[in-house]
Amino acid sequence: MASRTSKQAVVYILDASPSMNEPYKNAGNDSTSNKETNKQTKLEAAKEAITGLVTELMLESKTNECSIIVLNTEKTNHHLHSDDDKEVQDALDEDDDYEIMFPKITELCPIIRPNLDLLRDLQKVSVVANERDSLDEDESRQGGFCDGILLAASSMRKKTAGKKFARKIILFTDAERQVDIHFDLLDDAIEDLRDMNCTMTVIGLDFERSAEFDEAAAIEAGEQNEDQQEGGDPKHRRDSDDTTVEEGETNIEQDQEDTNTNDIDMDERPDSPSDEQVRAERVKDDNEMFLISFTKYTGGEVHAASDIQQMLTESMGKRLTKSTLNKIEFHIAPGIAVNARMSIATSRQNVPSLKKHAVSFDAEGNSIRNMFGEIIGEPIVQDTSHWDVDKEDIEVFLIDRADAYAYGSDLIPIGKLDLEGLKQRSPPKVSIIGYVSTSRIPISAWIGPMRLLSGPGAKAGTAISALAQALEKTNQFAIVRYIKQTDADPEMGILSPYTPKSDDDEEESKSKPKYLSYTKIPFADDVESLLMLPLVNDISGEKGQKACDELIDAFMLPDDALVSSKIPNPAIRTFRKTMIKRALDRDFKGIVGGRDEIDEGCDVISTPQNILKKGKDACERFRRAFPLEVVEQTTKKGRAKKKFLLSDSQNSI
């Protein structure tokens, strides 16, 4: 989804089942993570992905909230039950039948604005070494993803019901463990999630299937009974599941029976791994099916993720900041004015700026930290004072200060009010002056960033769409005068057709432009006067031309390569990675995530490796055709060349 409507609430569910401790089969082709990727376990991969997602969430907006639920933990600690709670403990001791809700699940935090402690806690999550023998069957199935989802749904309802959130549950699991499925609770949960418009995303580590449901499937009449049938999409079903059962309860029993048999098999005949494999595969298969069917009713996606990068991109979608739509009058022609909206389309982002604070030092010269390990920094302010330029000890106070403007080397005092009088009064407005062929406005005159003009209502929307299409047809730009804010100084610009980018590139070419994009153009005096000799006389002969043609042919890039708008700014990326690394590891002082860490050929901002290899000869031929020689630069002194030397003049006499 290209845009987000509001702040987000996300519950991440991390499966810490024993199987997650196994190496990640498909790992290794991730270009951005460190080189130990090959040895990474599924849990570590998932942790890294969640860390990435949570930090993205934090960076995107301070109002985003999230929670992390870890499955299969030793203890139980979540909003419905806490092992540490004394009352609960007492109840547990007294009443043998006291049932713990969703045991072996830990909520690292309720749904809150994420902080660094949450990330640090996440780093500490590890797989509890389950000694299978010591666990009874029930226990081995506790703390499964189904419980996790139910808990997440409960948490979501408790914390966000009635508030404006874009809700999402993201589950990271390999679904290899046989777990409890509480069908009795699922219906309610699904209904809850549907009510809250909460979607479900499953990142299936080593999954075989993927599915995507743009919208939650309709629940048909009597669906509750047929839940199982619906859940298992016949297409995906395997033979073993052909027994359709009407009641959820029965199905569980069925499952349990299966499990029982398999467990016995496993225990008794450990030397027949194929059976165990078959059983494991079946469990996994069933689980996958279950998750797909669950997602079908909540809306969302199931991804068979093959690497962390994929996990990140799949679960994040494109995270584009939304722009404010500013009200503006759009004057199209005499008598035609509409209420339109102007918004920013591109905006150059930079590495965040640093803040200053004052710190104290201990005897060894290290900055003093508080009990949480944070550096204690005192806020500081900048105090600016003005002093007489000749007499250093005389301060010029506010009353003696005035504004002046430079007239060459002289300063002309001018009051603020005088300048106010020069202002042209106007509401925010875009007025079309006329139209010109696109060739009249050279690219060198385009001044980014771009803005978008869209319409809130039918009139403005239709007028803008009609103009956009007409401009495209006639190959013209509209010349406009643009006043950004009330009484602001006007600027000149062009309006050109803008076709919203769809995910499907083919569709894009067909779809009609819908909005107008605004690009500033220079005033007369802003254009620099450049006078250059034409290059035509220096074009080399046939050999040189051939070398150039070959170079171009060899380095033609595929359409999907080096599309800048899909490449994150490497400096910002490195900055964030370093910042996060330093946040989680306070002793870390280095830099991570630089382009030097990227393996050769994996850098997205470079010529694709295959093209580079093939193009080497073309480069070589270009070099041979155009030999270059560095001219030794003399110092600046004496560089002004003389056409005439004194000695020459004497000779000529």
Binding site: A460, F523, M532
Partner: protein
């Protein structure tokens, strides 16, 4: 204070300039190390050397009726000397406004020296007496502008609008330099007094003395930065322009040549460029530079590029039978305002890593000069002055604890970045390292080519994901020989094959690199084809914003074709020229105001019709396109609320009901009988609010009329009679 005007991408300090120093020639104390590495030049000092021999004062240069130059526009012919003065005025004005509008050139000095002046016999040094310094070398301000203007014909702020065809007006000026220089001569001649001797020294001697004088002026001037020989700082640019109509100051005698050239050589040793601005000769013979001046002037530093064009222009112009004054000044200003390169960097091939200098087969890469195509001028920020001394104050900043307001020891200050509510330590050095590690070529500023793409999909701003201004690249043969041929051939091939390049541009080692589209430019600027590569910065994913979601308001074909008709009828192709059209109205007004205060002159009225940034007059538009606009308007679906502005405009055009006697209506209490439209037309004419019910409107009109007649006796427009209350 920071000055990022030289940041070719905009105001952002982060992008090119990490240092907050004043990059160009701001204070003369700037950290010039960065300058040297980026090739940003120092201050530009200009000395105008005007020939003051008698023929320079003869008015024989033709001017055009519609001359842009107000000092010449009303005279048929002006003298070469005046042309020189007008050029000087333009130069001073340019320098002064440059400081105001671009904050550049604060240290640029200008001087005007006259040579070949008549000498007085009873002074010791005749040669020195033949030169006069009209203004000495320093950054110009009010004084200089006033001096030069006083020497020129007065310009009436209100132009002669009688339409008189007699353009010959007797020049009026506060200060006539001819009189000043030659009056005593005339007197002497008339009186036959023997105390004065004129023209006793040869004009070549005067020229020589002038050159010597200029050299000492340059050495003494405060504004000229003096670098030691070992310094790597950028030198100031120093140029002497000689304005003369005499192509043979040595009278064909070679022996007179040597002393002048010797003096010129001293200047050249001092890094001064000597340039000639030949004026048309009175006898209409072509100005022959080969006789003498070609030996005197310096060659341009950059062998290739624009300089040669100028050279060609200079050469060709005086050969024309009669040189037009406008073209003299126009070309002079063109030369002065010519954009200077921002830097020179290598342009590297995709496999550059294998051919680096320390590699087995080093290949330097074509050297390219980077220029700014556009430099947006903004209204200057005010400078704070001390009202008692009228001088700029010295700004001192201290850091203090926010709570106690005690000063903070510099050593305790650390930088951090906030994340997840915690402070994460991060130093400036870290950020530099982060940026450096994020660049493809951390070793040097360069442009690395990655590959090519078809151009057809990159024809609109949105297709390029435009985020900033473009830069212009042109080969530099002087630094790397062979660059020009390689660059020109690649440029031609890219154009022929319809491709653009994609590359990464790093302008400073400490800055962040940027992905750029490398577009072969084939655009005409005026009539000249400006060939070179445009570097257009592309948006990263971080720079993109989400497209607003709105309901589908797809226009139907009928509406689109109505829009097409409208567009065709309102085409401005013949009127719009980038670089000429759209004078910045805000800067114009602002500058006009500052100047009137600075010089104590009357505020010039600016003709609103000259402002081509305003929409054209509605009636004019409707004349050419009424039907099309109407059919487009009719096809638009209606919204609930219309823009009030629109209503106002239309109705103000249509109904200006002057026939109603409002005062009478008020007195007779019959305002209610008027329609709402009539009532509104009154309110509109008196800039009152239009909203509310009819009774509100009437109340408002009554209040207004009462307020008018409230101040004792007033003439009320309605019936032109004095109301006695």
């Amino acid at each position: 204070m920071s000055d990022f005007e030289d940041d070719p991408w905009g105001d952002d300090p982060d992008w090119i300039s990490d240092s907050n120093d004043e990059i160009e020639n701001g204070t003369g104390q700037s950290d010039s190390k960065t300058n040297a590495s980026t090739g940003i030049a120092g201050a530009q000092h200009t000395i105008l050397l005007l020939d003051a021999q008698q023929s320079m004062f003869e008015s024989y240069i033709r001017t055009s009726d519609d001359s842009e130059y107000e000092y010449a526009s009303r005279y048929e012919r002006i003298s070469p000397f005046d042309a020189g003065l007008i050029a000087a005025e333009k130069l001073l004005h340019h320098k002064v406004s440059n400081v105001a509008n671009t904050r550049r050139g604060k240290r640029d000095g200008v001087a005007i020296v006259l040579f070949n002046c008549p000498q007085l016999a009873n002074v010791e040094n005749l040669a020195n007496n033949s030169i006069r310094t009209l203004m000495t070398l320093k950054p110009p301000g009010v004084e200089q502008i006033q001096t030069i203007r006083s020497c020129l014909n007065e310009v009436d702020s209100k132009r002669d609008i009688t339409g008189s065809t007699d353009t010959r007006v007797t020049p009026k000026r506060k200060r006539d330099l001819y009189d000043e220089l030659y009056a005593s001569k005339q007197e002497v001649e008339e009186n036959g007094d023997g105390d004065y001797h004129f023209d006793v020294i040869h004009q070549s001697t005067s020229l020589k003395s002038a050159l010597i004088e200029i050299n000492s002026m340059l050495n003494e001037a405060k504004c000229v930065k003096k670098n030691s020989r070992t310094s790597t700082d950028v030198e100031d640019e120093k140029t002497v322009w000689i304005f003369t109509n005499e192509d043979d100051p040595i009278d064909g005698e070679d022996k007179r040549k040597t002393p002048v050239l010797s003096a010129a050589n001293d200047l050249i040793e001092n890094e001064v460029q000597i340039k000639l601005w030949p004026m048309p000769r009175q006898d209409k013979k072509p100005f022959n530079k080969n006789i003498f001046y070609n030996h005197l002037v310096t060659e341009d530093e950059d062998i290739e590029g624009g300089e040669e064009i100028d050279e060609a222009n200079i050469e060709s112009s005086p050969k024309e039978e009669e040189l037009d004054f406008d073209s003299i000044i126009g070309k002079f200003m063109e030369t002065l305002t010519k954009s200077r390169k921002v830097q020179s960097i290598p342009f590297l091939l995709p496999d550059w890593k294998f051919t680096q200098r320390d590699g087995p087969s080093p290949y330097p890469g074509m050297m390219i000069d980077i220029y700014q195509s556009v430099r947006v001028k903004k209204k200057p920020q005010p400078i704070i002055i001390n009202t008692n001394t009228k001088k700029r104050t010295k700004k001192v900043s201290y850091l203090r604890f926010k709570d106690t307001y005690n000063p903070v020891d510099e050593k305790c200050i650390r930088t951090y970045v906030e994340f997840g509510g915690e402070k994460i330590e991060m130093t400036k050095q870290d950020v530099i390292e982060i940026k450096s590690k994020s660049n493809v070529n951390p070793k040097e500023a360069s442009l690395v080519l990655f590959g090519f793409k078809n151009r057809e999909k990159m024809n609109r701003p949105d297709q390029l994901s435009l985020v900033d201004r473009s830069l212009f690249a042109y080969p530099n043969e002087g630094m790397v020989k062979g660059s020009r041929a390689a660059f020109a051939s690649l440029y031609e091939a890219m154009l022929r094959k319809g491709v653009i390049g994609i590359g990464e541009l790093l302008q400073r080692v400490n800055a962040s690199s940027r992905l750029v589209a490398i577009i072969p430019q084939e655009e005409y600027v005026d009539e000249d084809l400006l060939q070179g590569l445009l570097l257009v910065p592309l948006a990263y994913e971080d720079d993109m914003r989400a497209t607003p979601q709105s309901e589908d308001n797809d226009a139907d074909d009928e509406l689109v074709s109505a829009a097409v008709d409208m567009i065709k009828n309102l085409n401005l192709d013949s009127n719009v020229v980038i670089g000429e059209s759209f004078e910045n109205p805000v800067l114009k007004t602002f500058w006009n105001y500052i100047e009137s205060i600075a010089l104590g002159t009357e505020l010039k009225e600016i003709d609103p019709d000259e402002d081509d940034t305003m929409p054209r007059d509605e009636k004019d538009v409707l004349k050419v396109c009424c039907e099309e606009i109407e059919s487009f308007r009719k096809l638009l679906p209606e919204d609930e609320v219309a823009v009030s502005e629109k209503k106002r405009k239309i109705s103000s055009v249509m109904t200006e009901n002057a026939s109603i006697d409002w005062f009478k209506a008020y007195k007779e209490r019959i305002l209610e009988e008027f329609t709402i439209n009539d009532l509104k037309s009154y309110l509109r004419n008196h800039d009152l609010r239009l909203s509310g019910r009819k009774s509100d409107l009437i109340q408002r009109i009554e209040d207004h009329i009462e307020s008018i007649i409230g101040d004792d006796k007033m003439t009320f427009e309605g019936d032109n009679k004095v109301i006695d209350v």
